[in-house]
């Protein structure tokens, strides 16, 4: 295992939209940045979404340029399929050990042609498709992945060697070893994102065993133009659903599941998905069961009202239980509190849960920062005035690593973290671009307090 050494101004952990934005904002100021992403492609969760609320922009269309901008940026380098294992403080910054996991494909040789993928006989559930579609044991992570480089899932590989045979550049290398890279950095930005709580967490909702109960991210893939089925079908039997229910707070705001906080994005993505569903299946009846509709952001309330006007039904109820009838239709049990308070069982063809947004990574293992006991997200020491400050000077946080939030809020925070990091970097004597001497002072700024 060779020990490469890299030296940058800032190390950004996480190559989702927040990490990319923070890296771009630093790189644009002339700082050298390394992004370390644990997945085989940058893009994070955003690249897997169908469309974004409340603008209904195609998520991939607005995310890919940002991915390309980071990957082409002359001040930004990117390591994908790599994980930060440990960080220590040095006299003038940090030293991180980054594990480059083996792809078993030589990065420099792979052209992303996918011939290996077509030749591979092994079919596995595709993580990118929320387990709904299939991938091979050697595969390019997804269509618009950056980098477009294949990797071998060695655990499931049967070592038949077909990929090796078809690869035009002989890029497959089963002997590739993990590599540890030492990264010296002046500052660190954590943009490690989120994960959704597992459906098995709530036994009352079938504990993940009901076939036609999906989570929000899976439905994003169903709705994406390049999704696993190419259209919206329920996974249990491939039937086109006539009635779809959204179950909000299926993990959040629930002390019995250990998540007392609001996950902040679920109301809006449920409404968005409902709108997209009624666009692609004009006859579908959609019901959203909610505790409070939290359409708090810019343009959100109008979006919610539009959804209501479109005929999407909103029912205030905490769904207590989901069972299945003999046709695999999920059956929900609720108190009809907006009427007489009776208890009803309602049958739908497909149910979408909005699970809790949980921290994507526990930084306590590898980075020195504290997390909050209440929610497990990175602890912010100055949440009001400097939202990106963590318990460690020089380490900053952005996006969902510091609590659930939507794309613009993540991007804003990424900018803030970049601002804080660049101030810190200048403080320790690292500078970005050196400006040319000003060409003639056209006005004097009087340093006066009036």
């Amino acid at each position: 295992m060779s020990n490469r050494k890299l030296s940058v101004d800032a190390l950004v952990i996480g190559g989702g939209i927040a990490g990319l934005q923070a890296a771009i904002d630093l790189g644009d100021q002339g700082y050298q940045v390394l992004i370390v992403e644990k997945a085989p492609s940058i893009g994070g969760k955003m690249i897997s979404l169908s469309k974004v609320f409340p603008t209904l922009d195609c998520s991939s269309c607005i995310c890919t340029p940002r991915m390309a901008a980071a990957s082409h940026h002359k001040n930004i380098s990117i390591m994908t399929y790599a994980e930060v294992e440990a960080t220590t403080r040095t006299h003038d910054g940090f030293e991180a050990t980054v594990l480059q996991k083996p792809r078993y494909v030589m990065e420099d040789d792979c052209t992303g042609c996918r011939l290996c993928e077509f030749a591979c006989p092994v079919e596995l559930p595709h993580e990118f498709e929320g387990g709904l579609g299939a991938r091979k044991a050697v595969y390019v992570p997804f269509n618009n992945a950056i980098p477009q480089i294949a990797l071998v899932d060695l655990e499931n590989c049967i070592l038949c060697g077909r990929c090796e045979k078809v690869c035009p550049t002989k890029a497959i290398n089963f002997l590739q070893e993990p590599e540890r890279v030492t990264v010296e950095a002046g500052a660190v930005i954590l943009a490690t994102g989120y994960t959704l709580s597992d459906m098995s967490a709530k036994e009352q909702y079938g504990g993940g065993r009901l076939k036609n109960v999906l989570d929000g991210l899976q439905v994003e893939r169903l709705l994406a133009p390049h999704g696993p089925y190419g259209r919206v079908l329920r996974p249990g039997d491939g039937k086109i659903p006539d009635s779809v229910a959204y179950v909000q707070c299926a993990g959040s705001r629930d002390r019995s599941l250990g998540v007392p906080y609001c996950s902040r994005v679920c109301c809006m993505y449920a409404i968005k998905q409902a709108m997209l569903l009624s666009g692609s299946l004009p006859l579908v009846d959609i019901t959203i069961y909610y505790m409070d509709i939290r359409a708090f952001g810019k343009g959100f309330e109008q979006f919610y009202q539009n959804a209501k006007a479109m005929g999407i039904e909103f029912v205030k109820a905490k769904v207590a239980k989901i069972t299945e009838d003999d046709q695999q239709n999920p059956v929900l049990r609720i108190e009809v509190m907006e009427e007489d308070g009776r208890v009803e069982e309602r049958t739908h063809d497909m149910v979408v849960l909005s699970p809790a947004v949980l921290p994507g990574w526990d930084p306590s293992r590898a980075v020195l920062v504290d997390t909050d006991d209440e929610d497990g997200f990175v602890h912010c020491v100055q949440p009001k005035l400097a939202p990106g400050y963590t318990s460690q000077a020089g380490i900053f946080v952005a996006g969902n690593a510091a609590g659930p939030k939507d794309i613009p809020d993540s991007i804003v925070e990424a900018g803030a973290a970049a601002a804080e990091a660049s101030a810190y970097l200048r403080g320790i004597g690292r500078r970005g671009y050196e400006p040319e001497p000003a060409s003639g002072d056209r006005s004097a700024l009087v340093g006066e307090v009036t």
């Binding site: 707070c249 002390r255 019995s256 109820a317 905490k318 049990r333 609720i334 108190e335």
Partner: protein, 373 residues
Amino acid sequence: MSVRVNPDLREELMGFGGDDVSACMNCGNCTAICPLSKDSTVFPRKAIRYMQLGMKDHLFRSPEPWLCYYCGECSDTCPRDANPGETMMAARRYLTSLYDWTGLSKRLYLSAAWELGLLLFVALIVGALFLFLHGPLVRDHVELTTFAPTAWVELGDWILAAMLSFFLLTNAYRMSRAILGGEKVPLSLGLREFKTLLIHGVTQKRWQECESPTRWLKHLLLVTAYATMLLMVVVFLRWFQTDEIRSIWHPTRLLGYYATAILLYVTADAMISRLRKREQIHKHSDLTDWMFLILLFLTTLTGIFVHAFRLADWPMPTYIIYVIHLMIAVPMLVIEVPFGKWAHLLYRPLAVYLTTVRDKMKAAPAGTQASAG
């Protein structure tokens, strides 16, 4: 007419254990998760909302708290940890105090001093009665019927039963009026549905719908044991309390052993569970919950001693433990049955009966209208 909110009720309910009423955010999970919450009787949120807003009249008219068997699923899944199950328990205590026209029930629930004091007071009366009125003390062998002549004890039993029934039935009458909202029940319907009252009174069969049968079975056994004992000491005392040592196969002895074993096991089991606090129903224990168990356990235990000493033919210990036995059993029955937790033995089946009757009354006019139209 709008409902005037009365925030003071919340404070009042705290005394009955309803501390978590305000933690509820009215999401409705509890009502929907409850397997017994259906048709016209939905709970717990309805009662909880009444309690939050101080809708005392609505609460007074609600049979729902009695229909809850505290399986604890609502509390297990409550998103706010607001303990709806325990709140229903508090509602039952509060309702017991509302039904009770003497006002004694309320004092007992709100004050440990009253509860313990009153139990002690009755115990002392029983003790005093024996101290001054006991029969001759036969010291060479046990002759309990001489020490406590069966006829006198029987008389005491009947007085006790009459008092107890008087309070319990008058309170139950108030409960019925409240739940039926003053409406007259057609006699035929009332009688026809009487079987509901009996069946539920004996079996508590609704319980099985919300839980694994273990606890229901334990409770059912407890009911049979308790009923057996009660019948033997009240109705069949002259066969039960004899000085003759009967064959071990004699029905009174067999029934006695059966009842004793059950009582001892179930009460001990419940007490251990309450100490362990694993299941929702046993997580929260009021003094009245403990008194109920402790008194029943002690009654049983002292009963065993009476029996044992008698078999051992130790006269004085038998007489003394007999007095102690009654000093525990009598206050338990006098205080706990009409005014305390034991009242549920009537209120629960009565609530099932009354809601059945009420629903049938509501359904009937609609039916006639439909046929008329």
